[in-house]
């Protein structure tokens, strides 16, 4: 494991340098903060059956036992037994479980960050019904407090918390957004003082897929809804969530929440970004400390509802044989299964489902911040092969998804493997096939 240790020191941001004692203390603090009856019950329930391994694409691709999902939280299981379990005093008294060590934590950095997308497939297979992915998320929090978040994630989270965008750009995203509007000839609603819908945008789209940004603006305009972007809360992603910095995740989420409150929005619309949806839809209120006074919706479910309500009409896209990748944060962890399919049906798409689709879809391999971690790339590619094979096996010519990070991951694979398919945005396809409904805007 010496190689892991060496990579861990290389992977640290300078501000994360800590003594081993401080690291362990930090991890234990983070862990104590996280622990409640629910997570304790999950840790209690594991029977070491190893079945979760069979759901995990990292294990399936490598058959390396260390990628067994529940093994990734082993140090925290150990800490739980020793510190907080019902028999913790006995464990401590008899020395049955050792204290976790900084060395051990460092080894686990690879398992908790590089080789887990927090995609939640393991949570679906566990015969005891343990939400393993939720445990991993909590373990990441403790790792963050131990100063062991991978440097890419840590730095981006720090930057986003400070500036609102995860990394510096030649021009601020506000300017980029307006430039995209000009480039695609679509009006960008920006900084309105009141709006029913607060829009935000994935950094990935701004950097790589401006068409998707334009598509969002176009569709909103087509629907004639009252909406706006806000310069002070523009980015959908939350690197605090990836890095495991709970407080940072809160600070980053607050940027959007505050803007939504400011414009008295009824809906915070999450664009095509999976983890942003999880962070805002299923976690933000807890961090905010009270229920949010507005709804958080993903653009696909929003559009599907508009379709059902008859306010949105689409023409046939003529896309030919098509397959669709379900982003894990949306379908498995978010429950959005039917919305993209309703949209595709309205687009006249002949959908060839992947072998594992819907809630059982394999993750693209880039989620959970893994795409950003440079050293994780070789393992990620290895893991992706199975997914790419599944896509190829459908024989589809068109490949759609509804998450810009998934899209970016597949694009990356396209160049790495010289793969012959291009991932497309479902939103973009919707935007290019809008049919007027006599609903003037």
């Amino acid at each position: 494991m010496s190689d892991s240790t060496s990579t861990f020191s290389a992977a640290l941001a300078p501000e994360q340098a800590m003594t081993p004692e401080a690291r362990v203390a930090g991890a234990m603090r983070g862990f104590a903060h996280e622990l409640g009856a629910l997570s304790a019950f999950r840790l209690e329930s594991c029977i070491h059956c190893g079945i979760c391994a069979e759901a995990c694409h990292f294990y399936i691709a490598t058959e390396d036992p260390q990628y067994t999902p529940v093994w990734k939280v082993e140090p925290f299981k150990q800490a739980y037994k020793r510190e907080a379990s019902p028999f913790a005093p006995l464990y401590r008294l008899l020395g049955l479980k050792r204290e976790i060590t900084a060395e051990q934590l460092a080894r686990w950095q690879h398992l908790l960050f590089d080789s887990c997308n927090m995609c939640g497939r393991c949570s679906l297979i566990c015969p005891m019904g343990i939400d393993v992915a939720a445990l991993i998320e909590q373990a990441r929090h403790a790792m963050f407090d131990a100063g062991l978040a991978p440097k890419e994630l840590y730095q981006k989270a720090a930057h986003q918390r400070a500036t609102g965008q995860p990394e510096p750009s030649s021009e601020p995203y506000r300017e980029r957004l307006l430039a995209i509007g000009r480039q695609f000839g679509v009006e960008i609603p920006l900084d309105k003082s009141e709006a029913e819908i607060l829009l935000c945008v994935p950094r990935t789209d701004i950097e790589h897929y401006p068409g998707a940004v334009a598509a969002l603006a176009r569709v909103m305009r087509h629907l004639g809804v009252s909406c706006t972007f806000r310069s002070d809360g523009l980015v959908a992603e939350n690197y605090g969530y990836y890095a495991g910095g709970k407080q940072w995740q809160r600070d980053i989420s607050l940027k959007l929440i505050e803007q939504a409150l400011k414009v008295k929005a009824k809906i915070l619309l999450v664009p095509e970004c999976g983890h942003a949806y999880t962070a805002l839809r299923w976690e933000a209120a807890d961090l905010y400390g009270k229920p949010l006074p507005f709804a958080v919706r993903h653009v696909t479910e929003f559009l599907a509802d508009e379709l059902t309500a008859g306010r949105l009409k689409l023409s046939s896209a003529g896309a030919g044989k098509t397959t669709f990748h379900d982003p894990c944060q949306l379908v498995r962890k978010g429950g959005i299964n039917d919305a993209p399919r309703a949209l595709m049906q309205a687009l006249g798409i002949e959908l060839n489902e992947l072998k594992n689709h819907g809630a059982f879809s394999f993750c693209c391999g880039g989620g959970g911040g893994v795409l950003d971690i440079e050293r994780a790339a070789p393992l990620r590619y290895r893991t992706m092969e199975n997914k790419l094979r599944e896509i190829d096996e459908t024989g589809a010519a068109t490949f759609l998804t509804s998450c810009s990070d998934c899209r970016r991951t597949f694009d990356d694979a396209k160049s790495h493997f010289s793969w012959d398919k291009t991932p497309h945005s479902l939103l973009e396809l919707v935007a290019s096939n809008l049919v007027a409904t006599g609903n003037p805007t």
């Binding site: 203390a25 234990m28 603090r29 104590a32 903060h33 622990l35 510190e83 907080a84 379990s85 019902p86 028999f87 913790a88 005093p89």
Partner: protein, 369 residues
Amino acid sequence: MSIGNDELTVGYMLMKHGVSRRGFIKYCTAVASTMALPPWMGPAMAEQLRSAARPCVVYLSFQECTGCLESLTRSFAPTIEDLIFNTISLDYNDTLMAAAGEAAESARAKAMKDNFGKYVLVVDGSVPTGAGGAYCTAGGRTAVETLREAAKGAAAIVCVGSCAAFGGIAFADPNPTSAWPVSAIVEDKPIVNVSGCPPIPEVMTGTLLQFFSTGQVPDLDQHRRPKAFFGTTIHDRCYRRPFYDQGKFAKTFDDEGARNGWCLYELGCKGPTTYNACATLKWNGGVSFPIQSGHGCLGCAEPGFWDKGSFYSALSTPAWGKAGETAPHRVLELTAGAAAVGAVLGAASAGLSRLRQHEREVDEDRTRS
């Protein structure tokens, strides 16, 4: 081997009572068969016994109910064993002998003196040691004294019945007389336990007969019982065993299962843990035995049978404390009490964990500020 001239051999005395050699061989063959001895042992035993000197038996009764003697003397018809024991060998038995008082006691002293080192001491009943042995005295002598004295010249001691063998009912909790089995008092003599409450008469006679013919104590089990009779459990040889194997059990003494003769395990039959020959030799000359009569085995041939829980609760059921301690409502009380203790401990440990959690968080805030 000429028996005609020797009036002190068993053979001669049998002949005098009209038992022929063939009759005796036949009897010994049957005894060997019941004892599961090799078949050739029967005739061999007969030959040895016929030429053996008249054995001397001294039968002492202590803290007992005379049930064992009843069993022995009420064995079927006037038979050969009856002849051998009552008529030929028995020199002292205070219940059966005509003599009484000083005459009886001096007969015993004479028999013991004449046959010193050769007689078989049969003991019936447990030996009370409490109150200086006062609970059982005869002729002004305590049972302990009498036993110790009689044991001195005995070739072997045969403990007849569960009281002499294991202490029996008198030994049962709380053992008010501080009763002990013979083996606890006499330690330097070969002891054979023929347990049962009472023992099967054929088992008593068979054991003695074998000792008379060979002059040796038979193969004994861990409780010093002759393996020939106590080698298998009642359950092993029970004719109702197939019903056990099929899982067919009588649930009450008057249900369909009981009428059909199904296994009595659930009604508390101790057959599976009781080593005795009831299921094969049976009682009253082979007429029946308890299970055949519809009642489970009480396990009377086993040590401490009186203190092993209810006769009517199955072997696999819990048995602790006094009667009724394992009744469902008492078990519920016990488990509920334990659960309450558990809840308190659990709440305490959760509280402790919360406290530790809180401390770490305060620590965290301090680090932050």
